[in-house]
């Protein structure tokens, strides 16, 4: 089976991401540094399984955001995001 069969919606990474952001993160909008498409984090494509969250752009499949939980530390890599947009009261 292809890896596409195993990918989930970014929403499924909320357990990990909420530990980093401490508040709801799947409705934050991220813009792909590769193609410029803006998507809610919950709508990115989630790969990486138990190693970490690899969230890819639904437009061009480039990595927008990566996160991993490493023995009580959390690592977040936003190199693939041109920017993130968070709103008050969301």
């Amino acid at each position: 089976m292809d890896a596409e069969a195993l990918r989930l919606d970014g929403n499924a990474a909320a357990g990990l991401l909420d530990q980093i952001f401490a508040s709801e993160v799947t409705t934050v909008r991220g813009t792909c540094a590769g193609c410029g498409r803006t998507s809610s984090i919950g709508a990115l494509l989630l790969y990486g399984g138990a190693m970490g969250a690899v969230l890819r752009c639904p437009g061009c499949e480039a990595v927008v955001l990566r996160a991993a939980a490493i023995r009580g530390r959390y690592l977040l890599d936003l190199r693939g995001a041109a920017h993130l947009e968070l709103r008050d009261g969301a």
């Binding site: 499924a12 357990g15 401490a22």
Partner: protein, 248 residues
């Protein structure tokens, strides 16, 4: 709402009840200490720990409404699965179950989000959508909702009686079933996998800009989302929750 710091720490819930739903599906009613509500569509992460330290973790959608005092998850038992057979066969009332949540604000709907609302489910993918329907009923909301629900056979329809009851006194709610593997004698409903023609018949026209929430096994979710886009629905109004490779 906002950030509740303790929200995502692991905690031990107590199983209050184990309710069979169909031959392969059951609901677990859980008492969670300090639970301060959820939004329909959110899930929890469940973590099992063996005596030797081995752990397995899976996500389960909350199928109960926020208005319910206890939270319920609805689990399909996969024969070769690791976690779902434990939840289905081993857990008994009074047992502890470690979990964290509620999680995820993307795949959620409350009556304030309005409609029209198109719900499309396959198998246990009904669980988060059921939370939405129960919440809507608890609030006596009249937001128009249509549920297109794919099951293998008549006896595999989860919450069949409750869905019938909800529809019977609610002119703003429609439930359409399709049975993909076997149909009872005299069945006049759909008898195939959900496709574009079925969605065109059941869903509102794209001009009505329905909000679509699609949940179930990954191949089903992708086929439905693609078909909705092909029918002209705005991809920005389609939300998906993939349950994984199988699960339906």
């Amino acid at each position: 709402m906002g950030a509740v710091p303790s929200r995502l720490s692991w905690r031990v819930a107590t199983v209050r009840a184990v309710q069979p739903e169909t031959q392969r599906v059951l609901s677990l009613v859980l008492d969670v200490p300090g639970w301060d509500g959820h939004q329909p569509g959110q899930h929890i992460d469940v973590r099992l720990t063996a005596a030797d330290g081995y752990q397995a973790q899976r996500s389960y959608s909350i199928s109960s409404a926020p208005e319910d005092p206890a939270i319920t998850i609805t689990v399909e038992r996969l024969d070769d699965g690791e976690v779902s057979p434990y939840l289905a066969d081993v857990l008994r009332p009074g047992d502890g179950l470690e979990l964290r949540g509620p999680i995820g604000g993307w795949f959620t709907w409350t009556t304030q989000d309005g409609g029209p609302l198109l719900l499309v489910a396959g198998g246990s993918g009904l669980a988060p959508l059921m939370a939405m329907l129960r919440h809507r009923a608890a609030r006596r909301s009249t937001v128009p909702v249509r549920l297109l629900y794919s099951s293998r056979g008549f006896d595999d329809i989860i919450y069949r009686a409750e869905l019938d009851r909800l529809v019977s006194h609610d002119p703003d709610l429609a439930v359409v079933h399709t049975l993909t593997r076997s149909q009872p004698p005299g069945w006049t409903g759909y008898a195939r996998r959900i496709d574009g023609a079925m969605l065109a018949a059941v869903a509102w026209a794209p001009e009505a800009r329905p909000l679509a929430m699609v949940c179930g096994p990954t191949p089903m979710v992708e086929a439905v989302a693609d078909a909705l886009v092909a029918l002209g629905h705005d991809p920005g109004r389609i939300r998906t929750e993939r349950f994984g490779p199988t699960g339906g």
